[in-house]
């Protein structure tokens, strides 16, 4: 995978994550998950965990490999 496509995939993952934050379809849903957790809250709690997985992927895809290489030399 090229550097450009890795970056593109990372951006797509973050955009997708942002889109799925807006769960309009659960707005008025009174369903309780496990008889105590309102479904809107359960969705967003799960969303937080999925976000962590997305960030693992982003770090894997685009994190700079070496500190010193990026720094260059102070003129």
């Amino acid at each position: 995978m090229t550097r450009g496509s890795r970056r593109g995939l990372a951006i797509a993952l973050v955009v997708l994550l942002t889109v799925f934050h807006h769960d309009g379809w659960l707005w008025d849903d009174p369903t309780l998950v496990a008889n105590f957790l309102p479904v809107g809250l359960a969705y967003h709690a799960a969303f937080s965990l999925v976000a962590s997985v997305v960030w693992i992927a982003v770090v894997y895809l685009v994190w700079p490999a070496d500190d010193t290489a990026e720094l260059g030399v102070e003129p």
């Binding site: 807006h22 707005w27 009174p30 496990a34 309102p38 709690a45 969303f47 960030w55 994190w63 500190d67």
Partner: protein, 501 residues
């Protein structure tokens, strides 16, 4: 009394942990302000998370959920899972690289250098200070409210309210104690002590959040019974329904962008050992936010099924629940955990203001290499002490709701985010654009804050304009000013730009 002894014991332990960090101190000003840029992934995660989770997260989120319901989690916590790591990666990492290359200690140093403008530095400095102060007040107020609720009636011989009824420990006393504790370890150990204290306190308040959840839910007859009670009394809190608007929900994402411009977060970024150090905070932050916010939001909606606290007193809900549904020992442990969350933010905020006054005002124009190291540290300590005293005095007269005060403070910082993004990623960004961006933020924020204070535009229990949070307009106006100002002025020279890209 038992609760109070546990809280005092905790404060003593905290001081011991923080002061123990001085064994690793190198005794230089670089170590006092930046821990010699040696902080590893775990402490950086704990520092960033502990600093962003304050009374706003614990006391404010419980109170807001008590009033608005489950949607509060989506407004702040799940947005934080997207926006905070994004800011750590896009802004924090890049600033860390530049900070190490050019030896920056404060944001103002970077912006002044990037835009070759003394005037921008002079404009930005007071704005950053004025925006951090309300954030500090959130912490001191939150501690006072919580401890007062937990200790209500515990000392009838000492503390009574205006009606002569036994009250809790007064807020002024709690504020004085926690300000003194935080000042002690920051004064002697600088940011290294703050990082150690944050690591310790963050572990404590994560455990406490989980303990609180299980203890109180058990006292309420189990999680199902607790939710059932709310469903019977306030069913509207279990959905978002009419309490939160769709556009309002969406626009809260911009509030979280404030992390990109918090001066105290900037200072923690500068302490990182390497670029890899940022990986753990980026990955783990969303999970830690969920671990703390989920119990708090549930406690808020469960409280609505049990208590009849008026909406304007909702900040006291967490303290009341802890006092009412736990034993004195648990009550002491839980209160210590709440104070841990609050103090883990206060220390970094006190220190960052002291650092800014030292580097951006007193030592401005002096070469740090030439300045006497011991003198620099003492100037920093003197300013930290001054900031603590001023904050404490202001906390005695401030009475705004914690969540709302926090959102206004974050909105101001979010309005400055276009400045840092343009500075880091847009070579064409100019001095004029930067100055107009800051001015646009100040003007739009001030107008909207005044409108809110005058009671205009209230919707869904909050000040909204066009159905969205005021941060939307503050952010848009500063972003447009940045772009227009930059395009209307001469681009910076190539040699200068090469230093930053």
């Amino acid at each position: 009394m038992t609760s109070l002894l546990i809280i005092l014991g905790y404060l003593g332990l905290l001081l011991a942990v923080a002061l123990a960090s001085s064994r690793f101190s190198r005794g230089t000003s670089d170590d006092f302000f930046l821990a010699s840029r040696s902080i590893g992934p775990f402490l950086l995660l704990m520092s960033l998370f502990g600093t962003t989770m304050t009374a706003f997260a614990l006391v404010g989120s419980t109170g807001k959920s008590y009033n608005l319901g489950v949607g509060v989690y989506g407004l702040m916590a799940s947005w934080a899972a997207v926006v905070h790591p994004l800011m750590f990666a896009l802004v924090g990492l890049k600033l860390w690289q530049l900070g190490r290359r050019h030896n920056y200690v404060t944001q103002v140093q970077y912006f002044r250098d990037r835009f070759e403008s003394e005037r921008l530095g002079q404009l930005l400095f007071p704005i950053l200070v004025l925006l951090v102060i309300p954030y500090l007040l959130i912490g001191v107020q939150g501690a006072g409210i919580t401890v007062a609720a937990v200790t209500k009636g515990a000392f009838p011989a000492f503390f009574v309210d205006a009606a002569g009824q036994p009250s809790g420990i007064p807020s002024w006393l709690t504020g004085a104690v926690i300000c003194s504790v935080v000042l002690t370890y920051v004064f002697f150990g600088g940011i290294r002590a703050a990082a150690w204290a944050n690591g310790f306190q963050t572990c404590i308040f994560i455990v406490v959040a989980i303990l609180t959840f299980f203890t109180i839910s058990s006292a309420l007859g189990g999680v199902e019974a607790a939710t059932a009670a709310t469903m019977a009394k306030r069913p509207e809190l279990l959905i978002r329904g009419q309490s939160i608007g769709q556009a309002q929900f969406l626009s809260y994402g911009l509030v979280g962008m404030s992390v990109g411009m918090f001066p105290h977060i900037f200072q923690h970024w500068m302490t990182a050992k390497s670029s890899s150090t940022f990986k753990l905070p980026v990955i783990a932050h969303p999970v830690l936010v969920a671990v703390v916010w989920l119990p708090c939001v549930l406690l808020g909606i469960w409280a609505a099924g049990q208590l009849s606290v008026p909406p304007e007193k909702a900040n006291a809900v967490l303290g009341i629940m802890v006092a009412k549904y736990t034993t004195p020992v648990m009550s002491g442990v839980l209160t210590a955990g709440i104070l841990a969350a609050i103090m883990s933010s206060l220390d970094s905020q006190f220190l960052c203001l002291g650092t800014m006054f030292t580097h951006d005002v007193v030592l401005r124009g002096e070469s740090l290499d030439a300045a006497d190291d011991a003198r620099v540290i003492w100037i920093g300590r003197a300013f930290v002490t001054g900031v603590v005293v001023v904050t404490y005095l202001l906390s005695l007269v401030s009475n705004r709701g914690i969540f709302d005060l926090g959102v206004w403070c974050f909105s101001g910082f979010s309005g400055l985010t276009p400045l840092v993004i343009a500075a880091l990623y847009w070579r064409r960004a100019t001095r004029l654009g930067a100055i107009l961006c800051v001015l646009a933020m100040v003007v739009s924020w001030t107008v909207l804050f005044a409108m809110d204070s005058l009671g205009m535009g209230g919707e869904h229990g909050e000040f909204l304009l066009g159905g969205v949070m005021p941060v939307t307009w503050v952010f848009l106006s500063s972003a447009v000013a940045m772009v227009v100002g930059s395009l209307l002025s001469t681009p910076p020279g190539d040699d200068h730009i090469r230093r930053f890209f």
